[in-house]
Symmetry: D2
Subunit: 361 residues, 4 copies
């Protein structure tokens, strides 16, 4: 109810602030007997952490995770898995001078109004640093999914209006992690990188689009009517701070099409039921149909920019101006990608377990 | 967990099939003392019901609602409000001949695989008829919101690629209900209607986009981190069968912009904090900021079409072909709009109550 | 959150008032493929309904149930099972004259204070008639449990201070339903009946104790730490209006014992792990251990009595006196028993499904 | 769903094992603006910690708590409050030799069967050490309740069959913390202490009964039908490992009474509605009525005893014998009391917040 938990059976609860003691997560409902170690989690955190490349914030955090409970002799025990990442480089001095100013497009104003006070150090709980917890939990979900052969992959498909063409799954797996924008097409990646650095030089920022794909998802995941798989995915993705839109399969493109163009026809290929196209994005009536699950998220340009903007002073409720200093990513897209993957993995792991109750035995 | 409930405090549970005894809903958590009568609910159901115009299915259902509990002497009592709409014109004969064929883009295949059996009459639970329950519950939510001055309005902004320009709130309120497509611009509405009828003549269908706006929403609704207001809205909208995408505020358009273009600057107007633009769609950090909440949903072309399509036979697991008979809307967009409004109202009513716990007294 | 739902996976939501249109329940999360018909449910409702014997209220209700959804061709479909029992003999005239008087030990005062208004007809939602919904849902749970070989039985072990001795499971199954008090010992039953009728003649009422036993429960049901099987059972039973205490296994008797007397030692009998005694009542650490689950509930004497009592007038907030007319059971114990069984069945069915997620596959 | 969370709005999630890194809790849904510091929490933990007196286990744990998040400049911020107590004196050597033996009345057998493996060091998650998290969270709940004038007190009313007589609230507040058994009557306390030490000398253990009372609870807390205040209290208390029974108000004693004896009559005293007696224990129809809330819990004799008992070997599934070494309390009653108080405080804090949604404004 406080909004810091996600999932029904595979359920996570996160905590922590940008410049407090640390950020962490409790994973409840992970089945017993899953092999799990800190390295599994660290690998995903390293993809999200700051300071990976010149495209990201220079805040230097190793983001080293500790598993506090729920794992015994290398396996999950069925009890809660608590994980914590202590904050190390939490320099809040840049925030001191603007602590009464509501940064545009940030949550400063709304947190202050909702709660009557706020932790102004780096945005406190509203910081993107909160997503450390999601990625850590997502790593456990990915491990669980891999037991069932399910994998979750992702890539950047647009930055600052620069878009990739069609890319194969193999292309994504092979290339996306090879460049700092996580674009599967190296040529397009170079152009995206250029656009990001250009914005950075201007003290400005750019947005983009990421695509996440889940492969080998069994048929049957998703619970009609409200907990449809696509509904839960939409919530999962939209709950990430920077995301302003989400679409499944062909998404907004379907709105211009005829039904006869958009319908995916069923066929049998190698003894398996498939569809000729995948405009549905692997989900029919809210339930996975065995085709790859495909979704895209619209990521806004980073709200923290060095340019002067109009704002208000929360203490005096008067107009003011602000230039947001601190250490920021000129484009958050490449670091949002592992967060999106984590959220998709969390939804799928949860529905994998929920689906165990669908039929009598 | 079964997926047929929605909301945390203001929580609904729906039931019923397309061709069973009826469809209904139990609203739990509605505060006591709210004036409510069947006419309040009927007014919204009439906007959703079939047979309103030549654009909709000829299935003839009065969709007359009965309130079974939770209201005493014209007011809610704080106990569950159960409502039922009995099915009247449930002719399932058109489905008999295709009961083993999986209709493309429908849930026939996935329901059958998930549950091992399915109610094939009109799609059973996976039918759009399920949304009657949402609209009935949404009417109660709208009544509760109106107590706080909040109103939820909507209009069709695209059909078959034909789009409206900018429309004022007054224009939406004044014009959208005056034509069968629910488009606030009468000239565009005429073109949309033409496109729908053209598709119908071909035994085909078209999709579109609806926009829903909530006015006078107080600052502070939404619970970080996962139950952000936009996250819950995204789930609410994406849980509607025909929706394939959802965006908040400027949505996917933000991905091409610079941060300096996209940020909404704070100002004080008539003593009230506002933003100069509303790219955020009234939500910052998952919490309402007092500006209008704006979202759009991508609605796919109706899946049931008269044209022949390839499919499989569920009983033999062999390839087959199908022409979907029965009575269908060539464009579901105008009837999805009241459903979207209902879902938005449900989310806002729930968060209005949730927000009562945000501060100590 | 409104408090009218129970269970996590196998989850019920109830509605309805004593003298409204009817009472009902929506069962969400029942697996697909379970054989179910109205007769299954009716059989349990008949055990609870008024007018069974001279020990119960003369209110005459057939309590005939209709299944509105979720069952197709004799089997559950995995979609919500809605059931309704329409009220027939709802004569509220006896309540008209006392509508402003708070009946002692009833919920009149607290409902009025909590909600600011109340449905005074027969207590509205706070009436014992609400338990119709529990018994109907419990019948579905019992059907599901029987698939796994689990059965739930019960008997009256005390009325007005008159107690049964030890009774075998066979004795309970064979005899408890043969007399109106549901006591497995016919001689004791006769004395109990006498005590009830004696109280009735005085315009007074008596209480008692029921015991419920679940047989063949598999090892492993229950979720530490908070959703222990005994914790959920305690809530389930204490949520019944007339219950003031609940105990598991040896219950309050353990408090006088030494650990060496109270511990149940493990042995192997016929290749199966058992315990020599069952003071734990079939639950260790909140998880079923394969022994019979045993619990007892303390049922208070019926609050509605014909004798004059002091009370207050809710409209004037002044002291007053009241004699509660209407049609009441002088002892509610025999009719509470099927309700307790239903609640135990609901908890077990839910945990049977929850336990499917305990291990990786 | 994993069972490690409790509460709806004021919701806690606990983690940690007896001999792992530590035990902790995340409190989500605590309103912003509550003054809170580590000393508030430490004071309650000190009442629960081992090594307080010669009646408790010699395990030496300072149980020093750290608040990791959710508090800024001495006040709660509305974000999750994470707290951790690191384990210091976790000597698991005593468990090594019995790691395959199921300790009678412990959860060893059921955990092993449910999860397929178990952390055998001190019982892992099933250890009473888990209650550290409850007490820490309960301290926050008590702080929140004190804002509304509500206080929660408790005392030991029976140990090994030795019982206190009637004690006033002042007597409980004044005397219960002055002796190691937490009995409000010093003479009875001395006898209880003697009985505990006698059992200890024999390598045995004893049980008892604790009573918890909540004062100044406002009228209106509790949500019919299933989330009645007494139902949630029963679950809260029964979820504590050592508890086998719970009763509200007069509890099991009501079963011998006439309705006319048991009903609490309403009167007006000093302009306030009260009842002449409090057999209902402050709750009517599941809703608090303004009278003190009174409940009692039956606590079993400590399961770990030095005497030889029959058991099974989990690795071979053969019969065996066991003497449980390690460091144990001969009577857990005095240390269960603060845990019971914590659970009552958690339920009340949650319902205080839930009740904010009961009426329209």
């Amino acid at each position: 109810m406080g909004g810091n938990s996600f999932g029904e059976i595979f359920r996570i609860t996160t905590f922590g602030e940008s410049h407090g003691a640390g950020v962490g997560v409790v994973v409840d409902g992970c089945p017993a007997g899953l092999k799990l170690c800190e390295a599994d989690v660290q690998a995903e955190l390293d993809r999200r952490r700051p300071g990976q490349s010149r495209l990201t914030t220079p805040r230097s955090e190793a983001d080293s995770v500790s598993i506090l409970s729920g794992v015994f002799e290398g396996k999950t025990t069925g009890t809660p898995i608590a994980m914590i990442v202590h904050n190390k480089d939490q320099d809040s001095s840049a925030y001191e001078s603007i602590k009464d100013l509501a940064r545009p497009n940030h949550a400063d104003y709304t947190f202050f109004m909702k709660y009557g006070l706020r932790d102004w150090r780096g945005g406190g709980r509203s910081s993107g640093r909160e997503t450390v917890s999601r990625v850590a939990a997502g790593a456990v979900a990915k491990k669980l999914l891999s037991q069932s052969g399910v994998s979750v992959i992702g890539h950047t498909v647009a930055v600052a209006g620069i878009k990739t063409g069609e890319v194969s799954h193999a292309g994504i797996i092979g290339n996306a992690e090879d460049n700092p924008v996580r674009c599967a097409d190296p040529d397009v990646a170079a152009k995206m990188e250029e656009a990001i650095l250009a914005a950075k030089r201007e003290g400005d920022s750019v947005g983009g689009v990421v695509e996440v794909i889940a492969l080998n998802v069994p048929v049957g995941l998703g619970e009609p009517v409200f907990d449809k798989l696509d509904a839960d995915l939409a919530k999962a993705i939209m709950s990430i701070g920077a995301v302003k839109g989400v679409e499944i399969g062909a998404g907004f493109a379907v709105t211009d099409r005829l039904g006869s163009e958009n319908n995916d026809e069923f066929i049998i290929r190698d003894g398996k039921v498939e569809t000729t196209s995948n405009n549905s994005g692997g989900i029919l009536g809210g339930i996975s149909n065995g085709m790859p699950i495909v979704l895209r998220a619209a990521v806004k340009p980073t709200s923290s920019i060095a340019k002067e903007q109009r704002t208000i002073d929360l203490s005096t409720v008067e107009e003011a101006t602000i230039k947001v200093g601190g250490r920021h990513d000129p484009c958050i897209v490449p670091r949002v990608l592992p967060v999106c993957e984590a959220m998709v993995a969390l939804v799928l792991a949860d529905h994998l377990l929920r689906n165990r109750a669908s039929k009598v035995w």
